[in-house]
């Protein structure tokens, strides 16, 4: 049983933790109230909207839930309690997420209480496969663990650039990993999916950019693991992150999902840049997110070879012409109808063409776009400071970089596949973010993505001095997430279970 109107109302309030504050007495409510219960009619029109989405709370009291209600059974056992915000002026129920098991015979609840927590946007509970997926942000993680608290401060733009470019970015992967041989891969927690990853990355990009969310006029989300066959991820991102001007409960933003295997996101970089550059578009910023809970059949099934490489994560980039951290110098894209990787409608897992995915697919297209772009811009190998390529495994991008003539110091910083696995639409974008995390101003970055089916997008970016100014807004860097003391490693069975989700 599901009720779409109820689901719409619950997620509208719960995803963002929306509320109201009375301007007369200061009382706060986690719900929409037209007037204050204490002040009565005189407070009508004096209630301001609030939300707790970017706030830090405190876990007040908690207990263990070992036998959840039916819809929560896939979470196993978890810590549940009350979380207060604003020095206790508002208190909400919540569960701790991102804990695969609660160990110990005697759990010391007092050791968990009074610690700072951050609200996390997650799936709410299990529903039938045909139902709307319920979400909520009444899930929390400790601020002193994997996911640190970062305030969202907006700032007036300081500088206008001639060329559009990246003004902020964010990368999100979960704190769970599977380690097999020398490769580690990120694994979503059971209440995560490509939708929650997209929202997380977008949130981090807004924080990093200092751009007001209402100024974002378009959002593209590229993914090949949208849990819906029909229904965009972008609409959820737009609503949770309040992109565009909000009027009543509708966001003044254009939102669309894109699909082209692993290049669904990179393909839209140029569209976002063109849009913010078009004088009459009235759009100052456009966001592009690549998000995937990368799919693979189980290891012993056809297509199961992918199961050794798939990861989980998302990267978001905000494009604009103000306070740019990396200007777009040019691009080149190429496409051919090459069926090296596909998933038929209704099938749960993709298939791929084995050896056919190499030379006639990946190498041919990446080589073409990278070379063509360098030709057009008249660039030599030594003019490029960093090379970023799509990374389905370690061998492909390294072989490609070497063949093009790049040296280790040019291509090693982007190589993240051994830490996160292949994050599909997020793979090249995560590599680009890793480079932006460390690059100095006035450096040239050559990005060449790849999407099966097949095509490649190459971009040349030049970093600006504002890259350094904004770096302090990025606590959740790629390196921080790759090498983190709070990472939790899971076995193969758990990995498959977590990936399947609630």
């Amino acid at each position: 049983m599901s009720s779409e109107p109820i689901e719409r109302r619950v997620s509208y309030l719960g995803d963002r933790l929306r509320g109201n504050r009375c301007l007369i007495c200061g009382k706060e409510y986690f719900e929409i109230r037209d007037y204050c219960g204490k002040c009565g009619r005189k407070s009508y029109g004096k209630m301001v909207s609030t939300d707790l989405f970017y706030e830090k709370g405190k876990l007040e009291v908690c207990t263990l839930i070992d036998e959840p209600t039916n819809k929560f059974t896939k979470l196993g056992s978890y810590i549940y309690g009350t979380v207060s915000f604003h020095d206790g002026r508002i208190r909400v129920p919540g569960r701790l997420t991102d804990r695969s098991a609660i160990f110990g015979e005697n759990i010391d609840f007092s050791a968990l209480e009074d610690r700072d927590v951050v609200p996390r946007f997650r799936r709410r509970y299990s529903v039938d496969r045909s139902d709307v997926i319920p979400t909520i942000s009444l899930a929390f993680t400790f601020a002193d663990e994997y996911y640190p608290y970062q305030p969202y401060k907006t700032a007036k733009p300081k500088k206008e650039y001639d060329l559009p470019g990246i003004v902020g970015y964010g990368v999100y992967t979960s704190r769970f990993r599977i380690k097999e041989g020398s490769i580690e891969r990120s694994v979503p927690f059971i209440d995560e999916d490509s939708i929650t990853a997209a929202v997380e990355a977008g949130k981090l990009a807004l924080i990093h950019s200092e751009v007001e969310s209402c100024m974002v006029g378009k959002i593209y989300v590229g993914s090949e693991s949208n849990p819906y066959a029909v229904k965009p991820i972008a609409s959820k991102v737009a609503q949770v992150l309040k992109l565009g001007e909000e009027e009543e409960d509708v966001q003044g933003v254009d939102a669309v999902d894109t699909e082209f295997a692993c290049k669904a996101a990179t393909s839209m970089f140029k569209d976002a840049a063109a849009l913010v550059n078009y004088p009459k578009s009235n759009i100052k910023y456009a966001m592009v997110i690549g998000a995937d809970n990368s799919q693979a059949a189980p290891r012993d099934c056809p297509g199961g070879e992918l199961d050794l490489f798939v990861g989980y994560g998302a990267a978001a980039f905000l494009f604009g012409k103000q306070d740019v951290i990396a200007e777009i110098e040019g691009w080149y894209s190429c496409t051919s109808d090459t069926p090296d990787f596909w998933r038929r409608d209704g099938e749960p897992h993709p298939m791929h063409g084995g050896r056919f995915t190499g030379d006639p697919a990946y190498f041919k297209h990446v080589r073409k776009s990278a070379k063509k772009l360098m030709e057009r811009l008249n660039l030599k190998i030594e003019d490029v400071d960093y090379f970023v390529a799509h990374q389905p495994n370690v061998q492909f991008p390294v072989r490609m970089a070497k063949e093009l003539g790049f040296k280790e110091e040019q291509y090693m910083p982007m190589l993240q596949v051994a830490k996160f696995g292949n994050t599909y639409s997020g793979a090249a974008p995560v590599g680009l973010a890793a480079v932006l995390d460390i690059a100095e101003p006035d450096k040239r970055i050559l990005v060449a993505s790849y999407g099966s089916g097949a095509g490649s997008d190459a971009y040349s970016l030049i970093t600006t001095s504002q890259l350094l100014d904004k770096r302090q807004n990025q606590k959740l860097t790629v390196k921080y997430q790759a090498c983190n003391p709070f990472l939790e490693y899971v076995d193969y069975t758990t990995y498959r279970r977590l990936k399947a989700g609630m």
Binding site: C62, L64, E67, K71, Y80, G81, P93, L138
Partner: protein
């Protein structure tokens, strides 16, 4: 009140809800020497029979059962049905009214906790709460507020176990109780250890089926049916937020405090006049908190009184050298907790005690007990009902 009747609480999987209400009605009508045609109205309560048993319009099934076509209304708890009935009689509308409660929870065993939680508070449910978790949060909040640690914490934990043991002792003397066997402190503690939570299986009231009925009449009509009527000398109810964490103080129930104060005021009695109380121990924590909310114990001290009284339990709590008989029926813990009927069993107990008809459980001689008190809650302290009952 002229007569009461009830079924045993527990699992009645072979019986239709109608059977249970019939059984309770027969007992109450025989005791009061009543005929169906005497009834001028019926107030029935069930918390969620439409969900558990797919029975809507419960009034209709009561009409079929009784062949009565009088006014009938349905509320969610026995206390609320009783409140409506009492108000109607007081207004002069009726002289003889049936107040009944019914619940059949075990028919929906597999989904009952989801239903309970979702009806208690949707936001807590969405956040992953269970029907048990709020009790444990309340205990955690209590421990924190009063800074209870070390040996005191051990004593508090022990006191809560003793509440359960005590209520099971009382249950052994109640032929209608769901559990008529003793348990030990060790059993309570080891169930907690197994659950790894602050409270365990033996701290909680069970899921039950059952029915209870009482016949309420006007003062004038009462004498036609009995020589020993029991009067409602004061009653009150109060309401609080649905979402427990959103309330200002998480260490007590405002509704109990408010309802008790108002009920006492209406009855013209004070706490000292009340030696017996049936309170709403959905968990052992609730019994402790209720003793404080009702005013019998100072805030933050009930656990000490429980512990001291239970070292060598004599059948009552000793508070300032006065005896307080609490949950002689076995409470919700041992007697059972079929939501819509629970309040009926609570009133049943005080009714029987005041009339000196409680058999083995009887705490005082005829005429010695003047007043008793009943506390019923709905949700997790969202609604509270208090009745002061007396022989005069």
């Amino acid at each position: 009140m002229v007569s009461v009747g009830r079924t045993r609480f527990g699992e009645h999987y072979e019986k239709e809800p109608e059977k249970l209400i019939e059984e309770a009605w027969l007992k109450a009508s025989i005791e009061g020497n009543l005929e169906r045609r005497d009834l001028e109205a019926c107030y029935l309560s069930d918390y969620f029979l439409p969900i558990t048993n797919k029975l809507g319009l419960e009034e209709g099934f009561l009409s079929e059962l009784t062949e009565l076509h009088v006014p009938m209304e349905v509320t969610r708890s026995f206390s609320s049905a009783l409140m409506n009935a009492a108000n109607a009689i007081q207004a002069g509308r009726y002289d003889v009214v049936l107040v009944g409660g019914i619940e059949k929870m075990t028919d929906r065993w597999d989904k009952i906790r989801d239903d309970l939680m979702l009806l208690e508070d949707p936001w807590s449910y969405y956040a992953g709460c269970t029907p048990e978790a709020n009790h444990e949060l309340m205990l955690r909040a209590y421990i924190k507020k009063y800074g209870i640690a070390g040996d005191d914490l051990e004593t508090l934990s022990l006191a809560l176990a003793q509440v359960s043991v005590k209520n099971h002792i009382h249950g052994t003397k109640n032929e209608y109780a769901q559990y008529q066997r003793k348990i030990t402190v060790e059993q309570v503690l080891s169930a907690r250890k197994e659950s790894r939570r602050p409270l365990g299986l033996y701290d909680y009231a069970p899921i039950s089926d059952g029915a209870a009925i009482l016949i309420l009449t006007s003062e004038k009509a009462a004498k036609e049916y009995t020589d020993k009527p029991v009067y409602i000398s004061g009653s009150s109810s109060a309401t609080d937020y649905l979402t427990y964490p959103a309330r200002e103080d998480m260490t007590h129930f405002l509704v109990t405090e408010v309802a008790m104060k108002n009920a006492l005021k209406l009855s013209g009695r004070n706490l000292g006049d009340i030696p017996i109380v049936e309170l709403y121990d959905q968990s052992t924590v609730m019994e402790m908190i209720s003793l404080e909310d009702l005013g019998f114990c100072k805030r933050g001290t009930a656990w000490r009184i429980i512990n001291e009284s239970c070292q060598d339990y004599k059948g009552y709590y000793e508070i300032n050298r006065k005896k307080l008989f609490v949950n002689m029926s076995g409470g919700l813990k041992a007697d059972g907790n079929p939501l819509g009927a629970t309040g009926g069993a609570q009133v049943f107990e005080v009714f029987k005690q005041l009339r000196c008809e409680a058999g083995e459980r009887q705490v005082a001689k005829d005429g010695e007990l003047k007043h008793g008190c009943v506390l019923e809650l709905e949700g997790f302290g969202t609604k509270g009902y208090v009745y002061i009952l007396g022989r005069e």
